[in-house]
């Protein structure tokens, strides 16, 4: 064994000793109390995307909106677009969450958990993109329809442009954010699979 190897072995042994001391210091601390544990038991986990309550609530809101659109005698395209949205979006949510049981997600090993998260995030981006594109198309078509019916005003156009900018902005932010998260997942997976 050369001097360099002896040095690093000593260094690693020192690290182990330092770590044992650190654990001993932490062992002497109370760290948790009954209130903290009770609070954890009563708290919900941080959701990846939508909570369990959001989906049925969203469906209920859409159903009411569609019924109201018919009852109020709005143009046919409004309730139809809402229905198409419901038919596309909610199956999309179930597709994105397929195989992801959030309560048990982190119980798995690091590699499989990271792979599941990466798959979810990729599907989530598709879902967000679809949402924004649908909304954008809806605004464009609605504005064109109103123009053809001569009920469009300059204010409506301004609102349409504002909503379009909002869509593009949201999409860009989601992409930047998701790209960062995906990169971190990719780094973990690449590292772990380096020698497999």
């Amino acid at each position: 064994m050369n001097k360099e190897e002896i040095d690093i072995n000593q260094e690693l042994e020192q690290m182990r000793q330092d770590y044992a001391d650190l654990k001993e210091r932490f062992d002497k601390q109370q760290i948790i109390n009954d209130y903290l544990i009770q609070k954890a038991m009563n708290s919900d986990i941080r959701r990846l995307f939508l909570s369990k309550r959001t989906v049925p609530l969203g469906i209920a809101v859409l159903v009411v909106a569609v019924i109201l659109s018919f009852v109020q005698g709005y143009e046919w395209w409004l309730p139809v677009s809402l229905m198409i949205y419901a038919l596309l979006f909610f199956p999309g949510v179930f597709w994105a969450y397929k195989g992801v049981r959030e309560e048990e997600l982190y119980n798995g090993d690091v590699l499989s958990t990271t792979e599941t998260l990466r798959r979810f995030k990729k599907r989530y981006i598709v879902l967000v993109t679809g949402n924004c594109l649908y909304f954008f198309a809806f605004v464009v078509l609605a504005t064109l329809y109103m123009t053809s019916m001569n009920i469009s005003t300059e204010l409506m156009w301004r609102r349409g442009i504002f909503i379009a900018i909002l869509c593009i902005g949201t999409l860009t932010l989601e992409y930047v954010y998701a790209k960062r998260l995906l990169k971190s997942c990719d780094d973990i997976i690449d590292r772990l699979q380096m020698n497999e």
Binding site: I37, E104, V110, I188
Partner: protein
């Protein structure tokens, strides 16, 4: 408290310093430790039913804790009341001899990437290659390769 809650409370008390050490190695300040610790506790509680079918409690705790530290979005802060942990030392700020020793260890480990940090932490805990593999989801051969590579990294940063 029912029986399940009592068993869980006992389990968490037994492993509190392990969870705290993991949080410390992946945090930049005590607020972040509090947040991570709380998230790990919640994840442990939510997954407790599925764990009881498994055998090794230590492996399960490390899996949940490391998954939280590596995969949880730390910027997405937990809303509501933050409950500070009952710790009368500040591993980031204290300046006595033992604290300096802790900081030295923290600095060495923090030079490594996230995955390497997790693996060396498990090695420092004295876990076997099989246990490290089961936690990280890799083969024993790969654990040996990764540890060799990390030790080389540490050697480079030491020189």
């Amino acid at each position: 408290m029912d029986n399940k809650e009592q068993t869980f409370t006992q389990l968490v008390r037994e492993h509190k310093s392990t969870i705290y050490s993991v949080c410390y190695m992946f945090s930049k300040d005590t607020d972040e430790i509090d947040d991570l610790f709380q998230e790990i506790l919640i994840r442990l509680w939510k997954g407790y039913d599925s764990f009881r079918a498994e055998s090794d409690v230590r492996t399960w705790i490390y899996r949940v804790a490391l998954n939280c530290c590596l995969n949880a979005d730390k910027k997405k802060r937990r809303g509501g009341e933050r409950v500070p942990l009952s710790v009368d030392i500040d591993p980031f700020e204290d300046t006595n001899d033992r604290a300096l020793q802790t900081k030295r260890l923290y600095a060495r480990i923090n030079r490594l990437g996230l995955v390497d940090r997790a693996i060396i932490l498990l090695w420092l805990e004295g876990l076997s290659y099989e246990e490290i593999g089961a936690i990280m989801g890799i083969s024993v051969k790969n654990v040996s390769f990764q540890l060799h590579r990390i030790k080389e990294e540490l050697k480079k940063s030491h020189l």
